[in-house]
């Protein structure tokens, strides 16, 4: 119970800092700066999500889940592919990051992406104990959900981060 509460606090902090980021003054017009990122995308493009997972079943299940919400998806099998894609200029609104993957795991990949200045919403998806979740969160996640993802869990993520169409 205590660990679940600490996790809630961590996530709340992430939400607050995310809201602050988008409401801070910038050169953008009033409309853009007062709207969370998801809503401006609603005007322009569809929401793009990246699924980073080495498990073929989860790749397919999570893609279909997101597609059902009208979100376009791309799939990569490990953290290094995700990092390389961002190096070559790809951008995503949402990244679903698995923890355990070969070549480069989710913790390393998240850390690297944040170092690169990637501001996408990164949601860690895994089946690990709460202590290990803390390390994953501290790598730079915005949020965390236990595997396997369900329609309900995904809906709550999208609502929390204003990613619904």
């Amino acid at each position: 119970m205590q660990i679940a509460n600490s996790l809630s606090v961590l996530i709340q902090q992430q939400i607050s800092s995310h809201e602050l980021e988008h409401n801070t003054g910038s050169a953008d017009s009033t409309y853009r700066s007062s709207c969370p990122k998801g809503k401006t995308n609603k005007m322009a493009n569809r929401i793009m999500a990246l699924i980073v997972d080495d498990n073929l079943l989860n790749q397919r299940i999570h893609s279909t889940l997101l597609n059902k919400h009208g979100i376009e998806t791309e799939v990569m099998g490990n953290g290094k592919e995700a990092v390389d894609a961002h190096f070559s200029g790809k951008k995503f609104d949402l990244i679903l990051m698995d923890r355990d993957m070969p070549v480069m795991n989710g913790i390393q990949a998240t850390r690297k992406l944040r170092e690169m200045g990637v501001r996408s919403i990164i949601v860690g998806v895994s089946s690990h104990s709460s202590e290990q979740v803390k390390e994953f969160m501290e790598a730079g996640l915005n949020d965390y959900q236990e595997k396997p993802l369900t329609l309900t869990k995904l809906t709550s993520i999208l609502q929390r981060w204003n990613l619904s169409l």
């Binding site: 079943l57 279909t64 059902k68």
Partner: protein, 146 residues
């Protein structure tokens, strides 16, 4: 056989798979994702599960037969197997995977070998039941559209 009877058989078998603990709510999640855009989604995922499982079972057999046993590698394979089985809601298989991992962490080779037999057995039982179930579903579908 009339379509109502076939549909009734499908419903009964589906219910027994849940009641007897072979499947859990995650299977329902897969069913909910099946629609006109993905008409065979559940069978597709289950087929992926069979392929993934075959690969992992082979890897685990090899790892268990090697000397000395690399428990870290074994644990990694079983973690993957547990991931796949829980993704389709294969409850009994997932539970056996968890037991295996405990033996792995304790570096108990005998326990691992014994439990692996259980994992394979549960997997084989589930696979047989699902094959029967999906065959029934297909028959009921054919009768429905006839």
């Amino acid at each position: 056989m009339d379509r109502n009877h076939l549909q009734h058989q499908v419903t009964c078998m589906r219910k027994s798979l849940f009641d007897q603990g072979y499947l859990d709510e995650q299977f329902i999640q897969l069913e909910e994702l099946q629609d006109d855009a993905n008409p065979n989604f559940v069978q597709e995922i289950v087929t992926l599960f069979y392929t993934d499982s075959a690969r992992l079972i082979q890897n685990i057999e090899q790892a268990l037969n090697s000397s000395p046993i690399d428990f870290s590698k074994l644990d990694d394979y079983m973690h993957q197997f547990k991931g796949s089985s829980s993704s389709i809601g294969a409850k009994k298989v997932t539970d056996e995977c968890k037991v295996f991992r405990e033996y792995c962490r304790a570096e108990n080779a005998e326990g691992c070998i014994r439990t692996f037999q259980q994992v394979k057995q549960e997997y084989a039982i589930l696979r047989r039941k699902l094959e029967v179930y999906f065959q029934m579903v297909r028959q009921a579908d054919v009768a429905h559209t006839a």
